[in-house]
Symmetry: C2
């Protein structure tokens, strides 16, 4: 019995058209990454489980794909001890599992699985930097475009295997890094023809400063989450939510300016400066944002808008300075198509202290969907051949193959239909493949070529075929 083939949940094949479009996006990124001085590295698809576990929170640990130890994992020298209460474990359902049982299960899992699939590119990058610290020139600017894997619930547009495209620099606290990362976003999206993206910028120090000023450092996230809803539920709604979360009336009076936080970046910074005058950290954040935004605006962006967004709280758990997020052009329904920020101690987990990093990520799949929706993929993106030589029998095939060989040498994507099938079949093949021209006949150095779309027939020589 033949097996009915299928794909694992949350995975997909990429067709030639899809690969060509993805390669186009990545080649644009690669070009600009390298223009900006970022250099490529690649890390293995799987890491030691100990390198990854505990780096992404409890939820992350659960979503990491673990690889079963190879060989007879029950029998090797470091023999696996099964959980003592295995029988009890087995008699329980997933709903009634206790904390102790979960711990026991995790221990068992760790014993039969010492490797895990990459969950993001940042932790492997930190590991790479620490392991190669003596060979690297700091600041080290690297980009990396590789797949990552997460055992997330698959959804439309969310896969268990997807590419991350990251540019990071470690070993410099200079704010010029932030300036050029904004320029890098702008350069990539401008070349992709994606006009009107908004690069939102904030700073962790601003958020900490606000929390400090209102005496609610422990409620930073509640505060930010509520403020972020201003568009949707209005000032009264936000204030109601904040009060419910235990933020005081006095605090709300203090941060009143944030409820009408509009105007130019300069105006926003002036408001923040007044609000945060009593917070050293907050004022540091204002100063950083002022440098970055002033330099960016002075140097000029090609198409993107830079927007100081004080509600932006992405990655609050690890970012310590700048926070970035990129929104698709207005009118396109799509979450953020990029994001990033600065983390002051990227490599500390692996023993290299005081190395600051800042980086950004491009959401390949979402950028793909946005370009598709807006019809922005150039029509020239295709890997399909340009010319199909009809096969009119053994003798003509030899002449055709001579021309095919010459054309390929000249870099023209060409092929010969392999069998002397009925012409109708060969013609339909060209149509289905998206091949624009068919060579129907050859006499000496004269080729009869049909443009499938227009129906036009040309009678030309080999040199003309090359430049068709």
């Amino acid at each position: 019995m033949a097996q009915k083939p299928g794909l694992p949940t949350g995975t997909r094949d990429l067709s030639p058209a899809e690969v060509a479009k993805r390669n186009y996006i990545m080649s644009v990124m690669r070009h600009h990454f390298e223009c900006f001085g970022y250099q490529p590295i690649e890390t293995p698809s799987f890491e030691n489980a100990s390198t990854l576990m505990g780096k992404y929170g409890e939820e992350g640990d659960r979503l990491i794909f673990k690889i079963l130890n190879s060989g007879n994992y029950f029998y090797d020298k470091n023999r696996v001890e099964l959980p003592e209460s295995l029988d009890a474990l087995l008699s329980n359902s997933a709903e009634t599992i206790t904390l102790e049982q979960r711990i026991e299960l995790n221990r068992f899992t760790a014993k039969i699985s010492d490797k895990a699939l990459r969950y993001d590119l940042t932790v492997p990058f930190a590991r790479y930097v620490v392991m190669n610290q003596n060979a690297l020139a700091f600041p080290f600017k690297r980009y990396q475009m590789q797949p990552v894997w997460r055992a997330d619930k698959p959804q439309k547009g969310r896969y268990r295997e997807f590419y991350q495209c990251d540019a990071d620099v470690v070993g410099s606290t200079s704010l010029w890094q932030e300036v050029e990362l904004v320029q890098l976003y702008d350069a990539v999206f401008a070349e992709l023809g994606l006009n009107g993206v908004t690069i939102k910028i904030n700073n962790r120090k601003i958020l900490s400063g606000i929390a400090e000023v209102i005496g609610a450092s422990d409620k930073l996230i509640d505060f930010t989450v509520a403020l972020d809803k201003l568009d949707k539920i209005g000032e009264d709604g936000v204030k109601k939510e904040m009060l419910e979360k235990g933020i005081s009336e006095a605090a709300l009076t203090l941060v009143q300016p944030l409820f009408s936080f509009t105007g130019s970046t300069t105006e926003k910074l002036t408001q923040l400066e007044q609000l945060l005058a009593q917070s050293e950290e907050g004022m540091k954040g204002v100063e950083e944002l002022r440098f970055i935004t002033e330099q960016v605006l002075q140097l000029g962006l090609q198409q993107a808008q830079l927007d100081l967004d004080v509600t932006l709280a992405r990655g609050l758990n690890y970012y310590t300075g700048a926070i970035f997020e990129v929104a698709a052009p207005a009118g396109v329904k799509m979450g953020s198509i990029g994001g990033g920020g600065r983390y002051d101690d990227l490599t500390g987990i692996f023993g290299l202290k005081n190395v600051s990093g800042v980086g950004i990520s491009f959401g390949l799949d979402r950028i793909y969907l946005v370009l598709e929706e807006l019809g922005l993929f150039p029509e020239t993106i295709t890997s399909a051949p340009k010319l199909l030589f009809f096969n009119n029998g053994p003798e003509q095939a030899v002449a055709a193959m001579q021309a095919v060989t010459a054309l390929r040498k000249a870099g023209v994507r060409t092929e010969l239909y392999p069998d002397a099938a009925k012409l109708d079949k060969q013609f339909k093949f060209a149509e289905k493949r998206g091949i624009p021209y068919v060579v129907r006949g050859i006499e000496g150095n004269v080729y009869s070529v049909k443009n499938i779309a227009s129906g036009e027939v040309l009678t030309i020589d080999l040199e003309q075929l090359k430049t068709l």
Copy 2:
């Protein structure tokens, strides 16, 4: 305590220089694959275990990396039953494991792991073809360059994660496919500057024919293995081994021509024709080889030698027609740098019968090592910036960043040293990064540039910087 980071056995990081060189090789391949009408697909890194298991023999099954089911794999609805004799299993060492225990263990493994990492690109390709058979135009020519994973014992130059670069066509029995695959090898290696590779060709039908003629169809592999040692152990040695393997004296007399199997391809084919006259299958093999070699030689190769090698028995378990293998130029110690062949029933395992396929594979890692050994990587392959602007303090930095922005827009890889560090430090940074030019000072539109290698100092404007 910080964790000391490491890499799993058999994996490696790729540095910027290595990635740049690998990308160069793959971009040459991609160009020629597409010129030859092959189009890219990508398949997921992991497949359903059932898609892969049983396709690569018992050894292959063992070397496939399995992924642990996610979540509480002991607790979900399809609950795992542990092997009944688990206690007994655990009290045994790997050496004393019985067949029954191994089966039990395999059953247990299958229950806690329903996904596995890709082991090669051929089986996923076959699955892809079957799942997309209605959308594809046949013959379907695809190329695929993706990593595969094998739990092999790591050795120098052999990793547990490595790239395969394959071009295959399915749905045509035309021998023009074999002709163009030889041309494809030649085109790629010629562009890589790797002159003098030998493309060995054989045909499974020739081997079957020989075995048939000498009445030893069951000893085909023994026969071929022995014959392959002719260079090393001489005619007497080979004959001795064949006799030991149970091949008769009479048989050896019949195949005597194979012991002095030299001359042109035409001469070799004539000898084979005489030898195989009584074998219908053998004569079919001769006919196929004649067509392929004649067409290839008539169309001409750029640099490769085509060599009819009757000892070539690669992939004897699945190839049914042509067999290819590529040897590096003489003088380079390296196993084959490519191989392939025709398999008559590629997609049968997934239920699509009578679809013939033929394809070749390029050994990326080995080709890399050969190019490195022969010094064939162009010096221009680098992702390093061309220009580093020294940072001479905040004010100069602004002017520098304006120039940097303009140069990047013009496609010149440029960066600004992020801090106003001592010039000596900035200079050493440029050297370590392999950046050839440093811009030491700016006055208006006049830039003072030093060529690090030559020590030459230029005083030029921005336009001249762009074309440096």
